[in-house]
Symmetry: C2
Subunit: 225 residues, 2 copies
DNA sequence: GTCTAGAATGACCATGCGGTCATCGATCGC
DNA sequence: GCGATCGATGACCGCATGGTCATTCTAGAC
């Protein structure tokens, strides 16, 4: 909401003008990615002059950092909220709610989500790799925390390597969320916005894979199809 | 090997000159991605004139297509080879060998692998999304085939949805291969080139997750740590 | 030796980029 | 009313890009 980014001049601006600039930048970066995004377009969309924009953000990268900061902050607070809300409930349920929260986030903030995915996957952004490390690291650490609690509650096999499992689960979640966002990834598989039934099925399938894998002769499985 | 890409003039070129051009292009695209890659650099590296390059490939995209064709063809033949070599062996072993073949492919053709990952993840390439659909679709279909065979051999739970499982496994494999290629993704987790022991551990962990999941009370699990 | 088809060449073009800066204009204290 | 301060402005800069084309070069026919 209140930007920590930008120069002193930018911070002194009226809130709605700040919003206009950030919104224009978000649109441009989300639409075109970092490299192809044009400062000229941002200027036009925001309704300010080029000189002003560069007085608000010294470089293109600084502007991008501002937008990314927004996306990161929102995503992080979303995760925190979910963790706290689901404290004490079974692991599987927690994971499910977190995954679903991701879908909701995408629905509500598609542009920010797009920035986020660009950051994770494209290598287009400057210093993108470093940010990727941080982002993924946080998500994995977050999942690892949940797994550790599940371990204590004896909900998962004690032989499981928590960090590695968190890495793999994170991978699955990322893939699902990305597929949910872009029908490109899983064409015809029915994982896209507006098809709640298929989405439920995917969540179910994924969690089933995470907890029980492929192998036959399940004993505790509760299955219905 | 023998290019199906390029204009008539290019195809009429001496083989070593073709190689020089394609190699230069591969380097440039792998290093910088499609958008930032410069035709001028390719020209310099290949030791030909700009006019000639554009006589060999009408546009930048045509040149990119040529390079991508190489990467796709090689990757596909690699997969085919693995499938045929492992026919008749247990599913888990097949999956393991395919995953390991991926690591070997990266070791042997790092530049082609980079192109491949760029294609899958960046959205930087033109018509990238369409190619992503094709590429991922093929990989998933390939995995689904194996799973179906595993299903017939009663190696996996009959309730498993083969297509969805293939999608998820493909996601895990992609993530692992990508992490193997760039230590960025999993810093400090020890999944990188030159550490065979950790790599073995990762393969083991991943397959264990795929087949048995997280849950306790495994019955058929063969574990050693 | 001469002619010619066609490949090789690199100077050149329009375009768009991120970024700058001399100038302008509004707001303030007095 | 006046000067001073400082944000707003957009023409402008250097640069790199993908792509073109008039010209030059070269290999083969006769």
């Amino acid at each position: 909401m209140i930007p920590r980014s930008g120069t002193r001049v930018f911070k002194a601006l009226a809130a709605d003008k700040q919003q206009a600039v950030l919104q224009a930048a978000l649109n441009e970066f989300a639409l075109h990615g970092y490299r192809k995004a044009s400062m000229n377009n941002v200027v036009k969309a925001a309704g300010i002059s080029k000189g002003s924009l560069f007085q608000y953000f010294k470089t293109k990268q600084a502007l991008f950092d501002g937008v990314v900061g927004l996306a990161e902050g929102l995503a992080r607070s979303y995760l925190r909220e979910m963790r706290d809300k689901t404290a004490g409930t079974p692991l599987r349920q927690r994971l499910e709610r977190i995954l679903r929260a991701g879908f909701v986030f995408i629905d509500q903030q598609p542009l920010l989500a797009r920035i986020y995915f660009q950051l994770l996957h494209s290598g287009d952004a400057p210093f993108g790799s470093q940010r990727i490390v941080t982002l993924r690291g946080q998500a994995q650490e977050f999942l690892a925390d949940l797994l550790r609690q599940g371990l204590e509650a004896k909900e998962i096999d004690p032989a499981v390597d928590v960090k590695r499992a968190a890495f793999l689960i994170n991978s699955l979640f990322e893939t699902l969320l990305r597929a949910y966002y872009t029908d490109f990834l899983a064409p015809g598989l029915g994982l896209y916005q507006g098809n709640a039934k298929d989405l439920d099925h995917w969540v179910e399938t994924t969690l089933e894979m995470i907890f029980n894998g492929l192998r036959p002769n399940k004993q505790g499985a509760s299955e219905s199809s």
